[in-house]
């Protein structure tokens, strides 16, 4: 394959994945068929199958992409000079996220809902993502100097994830604001 062709092929792959990712997140993975993806991406069905052998492979690539995106997002959203500031900044950024008209909940939790069978290979990506997020929160908690940082890290993660889920169920952003207040109270001894 010449370089020009391989570059073009790479671009096509990206276009398919971008289109599929947008549709999967907005409408749900199960609700979006391969036909809808090829139509939206403006490509032939065969082209899609040249890049992804099956819809499952496309779904796995989507979840891997989400994992990379949200891990980066989380690291970048934790801005501030102190560990406490960083943690609270995460709550502020999640609030902005919830206010976005495109927000349709946590993509990993949504993926679990659509693939309830825990032995499905895609579920490994959710496990790996939540493991990394958990570690990130425990590191932040440890940096505060809290002795029982493992427990603090888990509590903060439950708070932020719970407020996100609760807010999404109720269609409200006030839960994340309240969760921030609770987190700020929990972090007071280490500020």
């Amino acid at each position: 394959m010449t370089q020009a062709v391989s570059k073009r092929s790479q671009k096509t792959r990206e276009r398919i994945l971008d289109t599929a990712s947008r549709l999967f997140y907005q409408q749900g993975i199960r609700a979006v068929g391969v036909d809808m993806i090829v139509e939206e991406a403006g490509i032939a069905k065969m082209t899609l199958y040249n890049h992804f052998r099956s819809k499952d492979e496309l779904v796995a690539a989507y979840m891997e992409g989400q994992k990379e995106y949200w891990l980066n997002w989380t690291r970048q959203a934790a801005t501030g000079n102190t560990p406490t500031e960083k943690i609270l900044a995460l709550f502020d950024n999640v609030e902005l996220l919830l206010k976005s008209p495109d927000f349709r909940g946590c993509p990993f939790l949504n993926g679990c809902a659509e693939f309830p069978d825990t032995t499905h290979p895609v579920r490994e990506i959710m496990v790996s993502y939540s493991g990394e997020i958990h570690r990130f929160f425990q590191e932040l908690a440890r940096d505060t100097g809290c002795e029982n940082y493992e427990s603090l890290g888990s509590t903060l993660l439950y708070l932020i994830e719970g407020a996100l889920v609760f807010g999404n169920l109720m269609g409200q952003t006030s839960p994340i604001v309240n969760a921030r207040e609770i987190a700020s109270e929990l972090l007071k001894p280490y500020t």
């Binding site: 659509e114 309830p116 939540s130 493991g131 427990s151 719970g162 309240n178």
Partner: protein, 194 residues
């Protein structure tokens, strides 16, 4: 509705509920439900106008099931102080999410799957969440919390965050951590040990 019709309706709902919980709402079509329930498609539509109505009824039943479980737990612990009753709810929750066949919360899962914001199921979901919240708030008030709303909300976040974590990590021990965190939150809010 006569008895036989009522029984048919129940059979359809039982079958649909089992399938929705096991495979997700969007993965299960009306054809699968009628085949598994051993009824004609027309019979299903005599009882439920559409799949949306079936999904809404499924959520309504899940709502009643979970709330009656919670109320039973509270009735069984009515001689305990309210703070311990709050903790008992988390013990009950722990037992529920520890089950190996746990496939996530029907309400969280449906929110993920019902992408149309005008689906009638959303009303049931919000009513369910509000009912759990009200129970927490009543207990927080009874326990003499100086900030009952904060306590109730903290516990709501905890229970949702732990459910999310249970789904994503597939770790059955999440409930245990959630229960211990609940204990700390309750103690902190009430300024007492339980």
């Amino acid at each position: 509705m006569n008895r036989r019709a009522l029984k048919t309706r129940e059979t359809i709902l039982d079958t649909a509920s089992r399938l929705f919980l096991q495979f997700g709402i969007n993965s299960v079509g009306v054809d699968t439900i009628v085949a598994q329930a051993g009824i004609a498609k027309m019979t299903l539509y005599n009882h439920f106008k559409s799949k949306d109505e079936l999904v809404t009824e499924f959520l309504e039943r899940e709502h009643m099931k979970i709330i009656s479980g919670m109320e039973q737990c509270l009735a069984g612990t009515r001689n305990l102080p309210p703070a311990n009753q709050l903790l008992a709810v988390f013990e009950n929750f722990e037992a529920q999410i520890r089950r190996p066949e746990f496939r996530g919360c029907a309400f969280i899962n449906s929110t993920a799957e019902l992408s149309e914001s005008d689906h009638p199921g959303h009303e049931v979901i919000q009513r369910h969440v509000a009912t759990v919240h009200r129970h927490f708030l009543e207990l927080a008030v009874k326990a003499g919390s100086p900030q009952p709303e904060i306590l109730a909300q903290s516990l709501m976040f905890l229970i949702h965050g732990a459910t999310a974590s249970r789904c994503m990590t597939n770790n059955p021990n999440v409930g245990q951590m959630a229960r211990e965190t609940a204990r700390l939150i309750i103690q902190e809010n009430l300024g007492c040990r339980i």
